[in-house]
Symmetry: C2
Subunit: 190 residues, 2 copies
DNA sequence: TAATTTTATTGACCGGTGTTCAATAACGAA
DNA sequence: TTCGTTATTGAACACCGGTCAATAAAATTA
């Protein structure tokens, strides 16, 4: 009816993202539609396009914000001064898996989605996270690591997360396996 | 117009799958629509549903046939009697990556797609391939491998393929990296 | 051969999707 | 108060996967 809402309940990017996050996590990228998001927000689906160019960008902006958590997680491990480098190295790897499996939809978007719409928006996020990751494990490793070794470690971690993302297994269910995978990789660079 | 075609150009599963494969490989699962497939086949999209229950099953039947190639590849490596076990082990891993990156859309379907429609059809295929893989590397390894070690190797391989599938990198472009990743993993179990 | 049953195809239809855009009302500034 | 700016609506468009009654070709039976 009225083409513009009263000021106190105008749409905001934050409000949209909050609802979108819930729905994306609950239903995945394709099943979560702009219309469903709009329904929950009590607005028309057209309104969302005033704030976001399209669905892919909405998804991307949502996930990019969340993904900075991963960098924070890695940083917090590094700054835990009570731990030895060996412990820190283990924690970096272990916490990476934990993050991936407790943020499966985000991980999927950042590292797995092949959707052409979405793909064009992705570059920086995953790259930044990898750099942080690589720098961390290099500084903690007893032996100096080659670039290729670092990359192999990352891909091996990625494989673990990817697999259990796909089967929607919770981190809790694979804690022990995660630990043994991490130990397997640490052994490989010792 | 006519509700049934003359015998000589009736639809067949094979004809549909052939066209579908092209389109799926070219455009991916979601962008390749039943209507596009039907257009190429010069039939109505409804006709395809006479031969396949739905899109997911069409995709699945197409890919399952192709995927038996992977098992054949692994078998052929094992039966290469001129090679040492060490060489065979290397080849199993290397050829796994090669297969994954030269059949990216298939790999994606079998191991990556989260689509709920598709997922219900997938179980046996990937499982069989893993069993074959696990059995092979166990029989070839100098040291006996634990189940967890075998699994870690697989996940690490999977990570490599997944990553380059996502970025649509050809196998040729990452041959050397593949070799070094394989050597990294072999070292981890030596 | 003629009648009948089975089979394969069509195309309209349903409810859904992402996206665009003219119309419009609330807002903020002059 | 006027007027431009801004945010919102909802209809429209072109797609999508999937269903199904109608129908004609093919196969089978008499």
């Amino acid at each position: 009816m009225s083409p513009r809402k009263a000021a106190h309940d105008e749409l905001t990017k934050v409000a949209i993202i909050t609802v979108a996050r819930d729905l994306f996590v609950k239903e995945g990228y394709s099943a979560a539609s702009m219309r469903k998001i709009a329904d929950i927000l009590h607005c028309s689906h057209g309104a969302i396009y005033y704030h976001f160019k399209n669905k892919a960008q909405l998804f991307y902006e949502m996930v990019e914000a969340d993904f900075q958590q991963l960098n924070q997680v890695l940083e917090s491990v590094l700054s835990e001064s009570a731990d030895t480098n060996e412990q820190k190295l283990y924690n970096i790897l272990y916490r990476y898996i934990e993050f991936g499996l407790t943020h499966q939809k985000h991980y999927e978007l950042m590292f797995l989605i092949r959707d052409n719409d979405v793909k064009s928006y992705l570059q920086e996020g995953p790259n930044n996270s990898y750099l942080q990751f690589a720098q961390s494990i290099n500084s903690l490793s007893a032996k100096p690591l080659s670039i290729k070794e670092t990359w192999s470690i990352f891909l091996s971690m990625h494989g673990f997360v990817t697999h259990y993302c796909k089967s929607e297994t919770s981190f809790d269910e694979v804690k022990e396996l995660a630990a043994s995978h991490v130990n397997f990789l640490i052994k490989a660079i010792s």
